[in-house]
């Protein structure tokens, strides 16, 4: 055994290190050399594959280059806002405009204390100050009107916004429009009210942000369209997907013709909870004294005796909305319209039924609509169930590749692609793996608790990203609307897009209700 293999055997002086000692000290240098030689080869091969794919695709790996009206310009004047319909969605809109109810802030604080991954409060506080005041609240339910007033004067404002005096309550929205105290309104009533409010607001010169679906019927959509077009108001329909980074990126992918000819677009809704099926909470203080029931059902085709179920769960009845068609197909269609600019289809066949929630509702809980666009050589299929949570997502199917769009985006080459044939044969493109993924975002994970919220987040409807920072798509959508009010331009979901959304959804509703295929007459602009 050699001495040099013992601890004491190491060379005892720097200057006396033998050649053999130097050899042993530097013995691993060749290993390092082999390592880096292999590392460089692997990295070069990986980079070359990636470059070849990206060059072939002609799309940048980074975020979407152009996001229309992404952030509100420095505001030149304070806009006075009114809320009409401060229910669940209305209260959310008001919060995304910068006015959270004090109870919500308290709950959000508790949620963070319990689970630091909960990002609701942080997202709220990170919103920019839109330089607006909530001056008017209109709701037929006293509790919700009071909550709107409390939110209007909340002392926890995002972006260092100032604290405002409490809003005034109006029992009729017409009084609010005529008061001269509001410049713009958020509309989040049931759908049967939308058209009338839009028309009255347009006549009063008050700007409108309206929740989807734009209207309950075809005639209402025509009337709303005519009123807004004849006015100078700025109109925005509440499809916040317009602000999603992934959706804007998807437009680039389509523009770069990466998918080849697209013949089928499949869009889906899968939810599996009572809340997701509009079985919403009935407020303990809701009764005939606190709710102006007659006014609530004024625009509904059938008048019925006071009903807590109908008031708090109105989406379950065709008297107030159009069920899946107006609530969720509308979102899915608008996303597809945003990405492909499809417009109104030539025909629609829809079917479905009440197969699970046999709770007295008259809207289907399982619903399918098939749209044909012969002039674009493609079909758009929507399929939904409210009693299953399997996430099928939104898929664009082209001859050369498929694209899945949600909170993120991925593109996978087709095995039988003509365009990528050579690259697939050369092993540069692997059709069993996405050749391109785009994940907007930040490093970190947020806990989104409810199944419904997870559903929305996966579709990029709740949150999107700007410069790697998480922001609410709702907030950006409202900010864009205010920006156009102040500085001019076009909202991303303006009346033209809203009209396309309304008619496309109404085609499905009509087809389902009448049990026949319906078509669109582009000359008369009618469903026939």
């Amino acid at each position: 055994m050699s001495d040099e293999h013992t601890n004491a055997g190491a060379d005892s002086d720097w200057s006396r290190i033998s050649r053999r000692g130097w050899f042993k000290a530097l013995a691993s240098i060749p290993v390092i050399g082999v390592f880096f030689y292999n590392y460089a080869r692997k990295k070069a091969a990986d980079d070359a594959t990636k470059r070849a794919v990206m060059a072939e695709l002609g799309v940048a790996e980074s975020g979407p280059a152009v996001i229309p009206n992404a952030v509100s310009q420095p505001p030149s004047r304070r806009i006075r806002l009114g809320i009409i319909g401060n229910g669940g969605e209305g209260e959310s809109l008001v919060r995304f405009a910068g006015f959270a109810h004090p109870d919500w802030i308290e709950d959000a604080r508790k949620a963070v204390a319990k689970d630091p991954r909960d990002k609701q409060l942080e997202t709220y506080l990170n919103q920019s100050d839109l330089k607006i005041a909530l001056t008017g609240v209109c709701d037929v339910f006293d509790v919700r009107a009071d909550r709107g007033i409390a939110a209007s004067a909340v002392d926890v404002r995002p972006g260092g916004g100032s604290v405002n005096p409490p809003a005034k309550r109006y029992r009729r929205y017409t009084d609010m429009l005529e008061s001269g105290d509001v410049d713009a309104v958020l509309v989040a009533t049931h759908d049967a009210w939308h058209s009338r409010i839009i028309q009255d607001a347009a006549a009063a010169g008050v700007h409108v942000y309206c929740e989807k679906a734009m209207t309950r019927t075809e005639d209402e959509a025509n009337a709303a369209y005519a009123a807004v077009k004849a006015s100078k108001i700025v109109f925005q329909l509440g499809h916040q997907n317009r602000q999603s980074e992934a959706h804007n990126k998807a437009r680039e992918v389509i523009a770069a013709k990466i998918l080849g000819p697209i013949t089928l677009v499949e869009s889906t809704t899968n939810r599996n909870s009572p809340w997701g099926a509009w079985v919403w909470d009935i407020h303990e203080k809701g009764n005939a004294q606190t709710i102006d029931w007659d006014h609530f059902q004024e625009t509904a085709p059938h008048k019925v005796p006071f009903s807590l179920e109908r008031f708090f769960r109105w989406r379950c009845w065709f008297d107030y909305g159009t069920g899946l068609s107006g609530d969720l197909l509308s979102h899915e269609y608008d996303a597809v319209n945003q990405i492909l600019q499809l417009g109104i289809p030539q025909s629609c066949s829809a079917s479905g039924g009440i197969y699970f929630f046999k709770d007295g509702r008259d809207v289907p809980d399982t619903f399918q609509a098939v749209y044909e666009y012969p002039d674009r050589d493609l079909a758009f299929v929507y399929s939904a169930t409210l009693a299953n949570g399997w996430n099928r997502g939104l898929t664009f199917m082209g001859h050369d590749a498929s694209m899945k769009v949600g909170g993120s985006l991925s593109v996978q080459a087709d095995y039988e692609s003509t365009r990528y044939k050579q690259k697939i044969e050369d092993g540069v493109i692997d059709p069993s793996e996405p050749m391109f993924t785009y994940r907007p975002g930040f490093k970190g994970i947020d806990a989104i608790t409810s199944a419904t919220e997870r559903y929305f987040a996966s579709r990029g409807l709740l949150y999107t990203y700007r410069g790697g920072r998480r922001v609410s798509a709702y907030h950006l959508h409202i900010a864009e609307w205010l920006d156009v009010i102040r500085n001019g331009g076009e909202t991303s979901c303006n009346m033209d897009r809203a009209f396309e959304e309304a008619m496309t959804c109404h085609m499905a509703t009509r087809s389902y209700q009448e049990g026949r295929k319906v078509t669109w007459d582009p000359v008369r602009r009618r469903i026939v």
């Binding site: 601890n7 060379d11 005892s12 002086d13 290190i17 290993v31 590392y39 630091p116 994940r439 490093k443």
Partner: protein, 166 residues
Amino acid sequence: MRYSRFQVISLVTLRMLIGWHFLYEGLAKITNPYWTSAGYLDASQWWFAGLFRDIAASPTAVTIVDYANMWGLTLIGLGLLLGFATRAATIAGVVVLVLYYVAVPPFVGYAYPMPTEGSYLVVNKVLIEAAAMLLLLAFPTGHLVGLDRIVFAKRRAAVQAARANA
């Protein structure tokens, strides 16, 4: 401690293989802009799950942990390969591996979203690599084969000089 030639070759081979593995794990993370430890941390179970998930929830903490991982693995890998600061690199390696293990231990009843390349029951490759590094700590080789041999030589010379003066 006296090693036979066979023992030295075995131990140094083990050290270099582990060093190679660490170095590539580190460099692969450094060169992947999308890599983050967040998913791993968030999937944590067992006693320390709360701590790891809290880290995953904080973008600042995740960023720190990400950088610590990328550069920690790279430096540990270089240390083991070169035989430089071998003892410190070995200790750091054991600590890192034990942390990886306790974050997502393959105990009965625990399921993880990350795919694994093998089948594990309590013992996984992370634990085995940690044990192998413990072995390297018990049977050091940096002063025999590696840059530490030079450092060690200088230190011994200084000690001998001090003794001579005394």
